[in-house]
Symmetry: C2
Subunit: 226 residues, 2 copies
C-alpha cells in the first residue's frame, strides 16, 4: 500500500547539515500493522511525514496506492492525501475553534461526505470522549486531545493510517483502549497502519517492527504476534 525507495532528507547545509534520513527503503503491505521504534532524533517523524506526502525528500521516491507521490502536482497530492491518508501528529494539531466532534468529522466535511450513521458515536464511545464531544481542545486534557486526533485520523477509513506516538500522553488504560481500536481497524477493516511508538507494549500489538537509528532502518522484525 505504501513503499519508499532510497529516501533521503537533510535539514540545513554544509557543516551544520542534519542527515535526518540517510537512504531508507521499505514496503508496507496492505492490511499490515507496522510499528516504528528508535531513539529520540533517529528520524521516525521525518520518515512518517515523507511517507504521508507531508514533506518532500531530497532524494528517493514514495509510492501510495501505486502512485509516485514525489512526482505529483500539489493539487493531485492534496486530493490523494484526502482520499488515502490519515495522520495522527506527535502533538495533536487540532483546530482550536472546533469542538471534539467537529474536529473528528472535519476530514469528512472537507471531502463533502457525511458520516455513516452511528460511526461517530461508536468512535466517541470507544475513545471515552462522549461526554467531551462538545468541548473545544482548550477544554480537554492532554490525553483527551490525543484521542480526538486518533479518532479524526480513523473517521475516513483511509488507505493508510500513520500514527506518530498515538499513546504518548495517555495513561495505560486509555493507551490500551487506543491500541485495541487501532488493532481492531487492522483486523476487521483491513486498515493498513504505520505507528511510531516508544512503548514496547504498543509494538507488541503490531505485525512487524522497524527499528531506526541515525536516519536508517537497522532492523525489520516480524512482530511477536506473528
Amino acid at each position: 500500500a505504501v513503499s519508499a525507495t532510497a529516501l533521503t532528507r537533510t535539514y540545513g547545509e554544509g557543516g551544520s547539515a542534519v542527515h535526518a534520513l540517510r537512504g531508507v527503503s521499505l514496503e508496507v503491505p496492505k492490511g499490515q500493522f507496522t510499528a516504528v521504534m528508535g531513539p529520540s532524533g533517529s528520524g521516525k517523524s521525518t520518515l512518517m511525514h515523507l511517507l504521508a506526502g507531508l514533506d518532500t525528500p531530497d532524494a528517493g521516491s514514495v509510492h501510495i496506492a501505486g502512485e509516485d507521490i514525489t512526482r505529483m502536482s500539489d493539487r493531485d497530492l492534496t486530493r490523494l492525501r484526502r482520499k488515502h491518508i490519515g495522520f495522527v501528529f506527535q502533538s495533536f494539531n487540532l483546530l482550536p475553534t472546533l469542538s471534539a466532534e467537529e474536529n473528528i468529522t472535519l476530514p469528512l466535511a472537507i471531502a463533502g461526505r457525511k458520516p455513516e450513521a452511528g460511526a461517530v458515536e461508536r468512535l466517541l464511545d470507544r475513545m471515552g470522549l462522549t461526554e467531551r464531544r462538545d468541548h473545544k481542545p482548550a477544554q480537554l486534557s492532554g490525553g483527551q486531545q490525543q484521542r480526538v486526533a486518533v479518532a479524526r485520523a480513523l473517521i475516513c477509513s483511509p488507505t493508510v493510517l500513520f500514527a506518530d506516538e498515538p499513546t504518548g500522553n495517555l495513561d495505560s488504560a486509555s493507551g490500551a483502549d487506543v491500541l485495541a481500536l487501532l488493532r481492531a481497524a487492522v483486523d476487521e477493516d483491513g486498515q493498513t497502519t504505520v505507528m511510531v511508538t516508544h512503548d514496547a507494549r504498543a509494538a507488541a500489538s503490531a505485525d512487524r517492527v522497524l527499528l531506526m537509528a541515525d536516519g536508517r532502518v537497522v532492523a525489520d522484525l516480524a512482530g511477536p504476534s506473528q
Copy 2:
C-alpha cells in the same frame, strides 16, 4: 515546601460544569520527589497548574515557601513564581524564535542572572542536546523539544519543580536519562519535585506516589524506594 487545602476547580457552569478538582488537600515536604498518577482527565494537570500559581482555584488555598499564593497580587505572584517555581508543561511551550540554549537560559535572563560557569554545558550534555543547542524548536524532534523544556525548568534551581509528563514523548533511553537527572537533582541539590507521569517506571523512582481519580486524590503511597 508546597501545600494545598481543599482545592476546588470547576470549568463551565450548571449542567455542563466539569468538576476538575473536588477538594484536594496535600503537603509536599521539602526535598521530596512526588509522582502523581491517574487516568486521563482525572485532574492532574489542573492540580499542577494550581500548585504552581498558574491558575486560581474556585475554593481552597495554596501555600508555597510559607506564603498563601491565592491571596497575592499578580505582581507578587509573578515574582514568587520566577524565584521559586520551575514548570515543565505537558506540551513543550518553548519560544519558537529562540534556540534550544536560549530557551533553556531564558528564565535566568528574565531574572537578570547569569548562568553558573559550565552549568548550561552540563545540562545540555546530560540531556543529549549539545549538538542541537543552536537549533530552534521547529528544527528539533518531539523528544528533543521535551528535553529542552526539562532543562529550562531546572536551570534556576527552583524551590519546587513541577513536571507534567516530562518523559511522555521520549524513548525509554532518553526517558531514563531525564528521570536520572530529576532524581539526581532531588538527591544532590534537595530539589523538591512533583512529577505527573503515566509511566510506572518513572513513578518507581519517586519517594511517594499520589493517585488521582475524578478530581480527587484517592491514594497516597510511600514509593517503592522508601
